[in-house]
């Protein structure tokens, strides 16, 4: 069962960009709503191959979100270099899509218009933008909700719209910051599968931040475990599970999956313990 699904239809062409973080540090000023200032990321080195799906886990406050914001260009690093697709990141760009923890949809725009916002921002014609938006919304099972407003949708559907909105610009790198934290588990698994399917179709580079360890193992090819604050890469675990995981319904019950989750859990626990001891 699992074995049959590992065979993918030929080798897909990789279109995603590679990501490189060299000696990246980030310090934050103390105060201004934060009780803890100081070093958030400490001399972090990381390379992500083009077209791969990588997830990042780590103890609370280790700088996962900060790392993602640096990659998106929403904040500059205090030291070090952030390269995406061979170029230094300066500010946000439509080449790097991001899905936030909250769907962050524009409440005054319909579902369709939320998704066409991106293409229209980068100069795509209205007709093409609508065609592309409709394509991705249909891919995510939202074809019946194009004219609805975000508040009329459930949390899971809103997050699907957010995925469509992030992917419609066809970015080379898609970042996701605990995107499904607010969803119930069944919905969460479904949307996870959709994201996985999306990655498989588009072959962009996906970086997925989460605090759910099972999810990290389930969704990605590599799990990067960050150390306690100040964050740096503690361990990288390769996940050698079949690619089309959404088709393998027994995957979550396979011994290999259980072993990987256990491994991630152990390292995670070590890091959390370190965090507590250092306080």
């Amino acid at each position: 069962m699992v074995a049959t699904t590992t065979v993918s239809q030929g080798v897909p062409v990789t279109q995603g960009s590679d990501v490189e973080l060299l000696g990246v540090s980030k310090t934050r000023p103390k105060g201004a709503g934060r009780e803890t200032g100081g070093l958030v990321l400490n001399h972090l080195n990381l390379r992500v191959e083009p077209g791969s799906f990588v997830s990042i886990v780590g103890p609370g406050g280790c700088g996962k979100t900060t790392l993602l914001r640096l990659l998106a260009g929403l904040e500059p690093p205090s030291a070090g270099h952030v390269h995406v697709g061979g170029q230094t990141v300066h500010g946000p760009s439509p080449r790097r899509g991001i899905i936030f923890q909250d769907a962050n949809l524009f409440p005054w725009l319909s579902v369709l218009k939320n998704v066409t916002f991106g293409p229209l921002s980068v100069g795509v014609s209205l007709k093409d933008a609508e065609a592309r938006a409709t394509h991705w919304l249909t891919f995510l099972g939202l074809s019946k909700f194009l004219q609805r407003y975000p508040h009329e949708l459930s949390g899971g559907m809103q997050q699907r719209v957010a995925i469509a909105r992030a992917i419609v610009n066809e970015p080379d790198l898609l970042l996701a910051d605990e995107p499904f934290g607010g969803l119930d588990w069944i919905t969460r698994e479904q949307v996870c599968d959709e994201l996985l399917r999306l990655w498989h179709t588009t072959r962009k580079t996906f970086i997925y931040v989460t605090h759910a360890l099972e999810e990290a193992v389930y969704i990605s090819q590599r799990v990067i475990i960050l150390s306690a604050r100040p964050g740096t890469v503690a361990k990288v675990i390769e996940v050698n599970l079949p690619e089309q995981r959404w088709a393998a319904t027994d995957l979550r019950f396979s011994p290999e999956y259980a072993r990987l989750v256990e491994e991630v859990r152990e390292i995670f626990a070590e890091q959390t313990a370190l965090a507590h001891n250092s306080r």
Partner: protein, 348 residues
């Protein structure tokens, strides 16, 4: 297959637990026959009482001239309306909420009129400061050309001033909320100048402007400018950072950010400012017309007061109130169109 089965089972439970249908708020059951009768009956009785008090109590004190009686026809008209809507409520059941609203107004009006008429008939209160209801109604019949002209002049002054003031308010509010530089340099001065009551500008306005009409426009514009500016700028400053970041990562430049994110997000606040400034603009309208504009309802009030014709004062006050309702509901209509997306989020 276990997971698939679990999913089916859970979604089945979900469906079973969900309430069969949710009743939308606007599908509240229509008022019953009984409620309609309970409003219509008292309305008729109250207005028959008005008619009786007005016609049956003999006028105390000497009246050297019997004035024209406008209250009796008016009360008869109200009775006619009450009976007609009573019948209408049975034909058009869908309009029953509107019918009830009419009854509520007529009942309150009648209850106020009865003691007023009794006091008037027994000569407990004396004209001209407290005229009879009949005389107030008479103004609309005898003096309507002047009144209509006054309304037209007032509306012209009001609309020109309000549109100028709120336009300037929206643009300066956007600049203040959007640009750090504008805010750093101008914030202090805006906060200093803005709260000065528009009436305090009257001496200056009269000197600067060539005539009282343009001075009036300035005062109304000034009065409506400040609330709109403050609320627009706080609306702009309060646009969720997350929405701006989302738009930036989608490739929006500054222009698009301003037009398609900041302005729509700030619009609910802008409308709060527009409603607030409408009130101050109305107050200043009357003040401006009283201070020297040679037409309009404010002028009409001052002029009538000069002749001790207080019934005209009250009649035009009622007109002012009605005009305010009309103008406010106009702005509400615009808001409803522009902010229809808010309907599901906040209470209207």
């Amino acid at each position: 297959m276990a997971l698939e089965e679990l999913r089916t089972a859970i979604s089945a439970v979900d469906r079973a637990a969900a309430p069969p249908t949710t009743v939308p708020l606007d599908a509240i059951p229509l008022p019953s026959d009984r409620i309609i009768n309970l409003r219509a009956g008292p309305t008729v009785i109250i207005w028959l009482t008005v008619l009786a008090v007005h016609n049956l109590i003999p006028q105390a004190g000497a009246t050297f001239k019997v004035p024209a009686d406008y209250l009796s026809p008016a009360a008869l008209l109200v009775l006619g309306i009450a009976l007609a809507t009573w019948g209408f409520a049975y034909i058009a059941k869908g309009r029953r909420e509107n019918v009830l609203a009419i009854y509520r107004v007529l009942i309150v009006l009648g209850i106020v009129l009865i003691p007023w008429e009794v006091a008037e008939r027994l000569a407990w209160i004396k004209p001209p400061f407290f005229p009879t209801a009949s005389k107030v109604i008479g103004v609309y019949i005898e003096d309507y050309p002047t009144l209509l002209l006054s309304i037209a002049y007032s509306m012209r002054l009001m609309i020109i001033g309000y549109v100028i003031g709120s336009t300037v308010g929206i643009f300066s509010g956007l600049a203040l909320g959007w640009s750090k530089h504008v805010s750093n340099w101008a914030q202090f001065w805006m906060r200093l100048i803005g709260p000065i009551p528009a009436t305090a500008w009257i001496p200056l306005a009269i000197v600067i402007f060539p005539n009282t009409f343009s001075a009036g426009i300035f005062l109304i514009a000034f009065a409506s400018w400040f609330p709109v500016m403050m609320l627009t700028s706080s609306g702009v400053a309060g646009v969720p950072k997350a929405l701006l970041e989302a738009a930036q990562t989608l490739g929006a430049d500054n222009k698009r950010l301003l037009l398609h994110v900041v302005i729509p997000a700030a619009l609910p606040n802008v409308f709060v400012g527009l409603f607030m400034s409408l009130g101050t603009a109305f107050a200043i309208l009357v003040v401006a017309e009283m201070m020297g504009v040679k037409a309009g309802l404010g002028w009409y009030i001052t002029w009538a007061q000069g002749w001790s014709e207080y019934h005209k004062v009250y009649a035009s006050m009622l007109v002012l109130g009605a005009l305010f309702i009309i103008v406010v509901s106009g702005v509400f209509k615009v808001r409803d169109r522009l902010l229809s997306w808010q309907k599901g989020i906040i209470r209207w």
